[in-house]
């Protein structure tokens, strides 16, 4: 699959919640230095996968190795140290509402370092410049549009110069211009900073333009992986339906229901 080493290796991952199996002997490799996309229909557990990788939740069984360290064996302090090497962009930005844009981006620096105030200021402004929002540094979070908020969150995610950057549904709710901005940032940051980027999304077209490798999830397993071009012609009904945006296929159009005529004609009005 890849000659470069994998920075994240997942083997035999199993995870169930509330009786529902989300992952069943799941395998995945994330290549170092590349943009890897994780796609799938709603509810397949893409966000859960991110939580498992960052150990916000613990797997039931299986192994997840991040940068060579086995997640299940790490102590709380070690996990916190590992998380400092990762940056995460949440679906709605998750900015701290009582802080300004500047303070939001400066937050990790203030919490984890004892840097001089001038140095913090320079770092923050540099990162804001990278996402194109240096002029918005003094705004409050309420004054930002959705796209701007996400860019600020991105600046915050890279302020500690992480090795891995994780994007949870970064295109949701954005207008085409903002989407274009985010796409450009994902690619440029990944290449310029030598990051590994993991992208969870279901926007097929956006992913096709930015990802190096794609994993398609369904039913708790990887049903397809490869480059975006390979996926377009992947010989599988599941993949074809997803990539083509077809209304009916392996994922059915109709929610399971009793016989149609039988229900319409039922005498006693039973549902």
């Amino acid at each position: 699959m890849n000659q470069t080493s994998a920075i994240i290796e997942i083997r035999d991952l199993s995870y169930a919640v509330g009786g529902r199996t989300i992952f069943d002997k799941f395998d995945m490799d994330v290549a170092r230095g590349r943009v890897t996309a994780v796609m799938g229909p709603s509810g397949t557990g893409k966000t859960t996968l991110l939580r498992l990788i960052t150990r916000q939740v613990r797997a039931d069984s299986g192994s997840i190795r991040v940068a060579g360290a086995e997640l299940g064996a790490l102590t709380h302090a070690e996990i916190f140290a590992l998380r400092r090497r990762m940056g995460m962009l949440f679906q709605n930005g998750a900015l701290l509402t009582d802080l300004s844009v500047f303070e939001n981006v400066a937050f990790p620096l203030r919490e984890h370092t004892r840097l001089d105030e001038r140095l913090i200021r320079n770092l923050v402004l540099t990162k804001l410049q990278a996402v194109g929002l240096r002029g918005a540094a003094e705004l409050g979070t309420a004054e930002l549009s959705g796209g701007m908020a996400r860019r600020v969150a991105l600046a915050r995610a890279i302020v500690m110069d992480p090795e891995i950057l994780i994007y949870d549904e970064p295109f949701v709710g954005l207008d085409p211009i903002s989407k274009g901005v985010v796409l450009r940032l994902i690619r440029r940051l990944n290449d310029a900073l030598g990051l590994t980027s993991i992208l969870v999304s279901h926007d097929v077209h956006e992913i096709a333009s930015v990802a190096d490798a794609v994993f398609l999830l369904s039913g708790g397993k990887v049903v397809a992986h490869g480059t975006p071009q390979e996926l377009q012609s992947f010989p599988s009904e599941v993949v074809k339906q997803f990539v083509g945006g077809l209304a009916d296929g392996p994922v059915p159009f109709h929610y399971p229901a009793p016989d149609y005529y039988g229900q319409l004609l039922a005498r006693d009005g039973a549902p």
């Binding site: 998380r83 995460m88 949440f90 998750a94 701290l96 919490e111 984890h112």
Partner: protein, 255 residues
């Protein structure tokens, strides 16, 4: 029979919740020493919990004191003891009404604000984001808010009692013509430091209870609109019940 089963279920739920709340207190206390290092955060929270509650506490204190003056005067007059109004007002306020009414007002104003704020932070993933940035949300967000409430409560109760006594004096001396000298001297003769201590202990304990319940409910709120609403409601209800229960315990303890 179903009634008993339901009753037992809700009682054991409440006990479990009580255990969770105490466990949460333990987690907060562990983080308090490091939280104290960011003193500015705590000062901000004392402002939110205390200074912003000043208006309602002072107004309520005034009216409660005035009612106390009125009712107390009417009652004592039946025994010809209206000169003891000062004592009655002071003891009633300092030992009971001050701590308890302030705690209930605090739960309603500051407690719900705390719960809603934390609940909203939970719902918008801010707390998860903090965990992802390797910042312990309990140290950064919960502990300062808890400490802010704990510091603010006794001060609010003292202010309530002070304004209440003046309210009682306003009604008793100015309107009902109780002798001002008797009002104050009888009070001074009959109110002892132990009474004041009881009031201070109560307001401190209530402060811990109300702040704890508020941050607990907010932190563990379901990340939806209904979840935040339910958390704020539960904050007020649970705080009220616990405060009144603790009031009895502490009163009995001091007697």
């Amino acid at each position: 029979m179903n009634l008993f089963a339901d009753l037992w279920a809700s009682m054991s739920d409440s006990l479990v919740r009580l255990g969770d709340i105490v466990g949460f207190l333990g987690r907060i206390m562990l983080q308090v020493p490091r939280a104290l290092l960011r003193f500015q955060l705590i000062v901000d929270q004392v402002y939110n919990a205390g200074a912003l509650s000043l208006v309602i506490v002072m107004l309520s204190g005034l009216f409660v004191g005035m009612v106390l003056g009125l009712q107390g005067f009417e009652l004592l007059q039946r025994f010809g003891s209206e000169q003891a109004l000062g004592t009655a007002a002071a003891i009633g306020l300092v030992k009971e009404l001050g701590p308890v009414v302030t705690a209930l007002l605090f739960a309603g104003r500051a407690g719900t604000a705390l719960a809603a704020e934390l609940g909203l932070m939970r719902a918008t993933d801010q707390l998860s984001a903090m965990e992802m940035m390797a910042v312990d949300p309990i140290r950064r967000v919960v502990a300062p808010r808890f400490l802010g409430g704990v510091i603010a409560m006794p001060l609010l109760a003292a202010i309530f009692s002070m304004i209440g006594i003046y309210g009682a004096q306003l009604v008793g001396v100015q309107i009902m013509k109780v002798d001002a000298g008797s009002f104050w001297s009888q009070m001074r003769a009959s109110v002892h430091l132990i009474d004041l201590n009881e009031g201070i202990v109560k307001s401190c304990v209530f402060g811990v209870a109300c702040s704890l319940i508020a941050v607990y409910e907010g932190y563990h709120a379901a990340p939806t609109a209904e979840g935040v609403g339910a958390a704020t409601t539960r904050t007020v209800v649970t705080s009220a019940v616990i405060v009144l229960f603790l009031d009895y315990l502490i009163t009995a303890f001091f007697l």
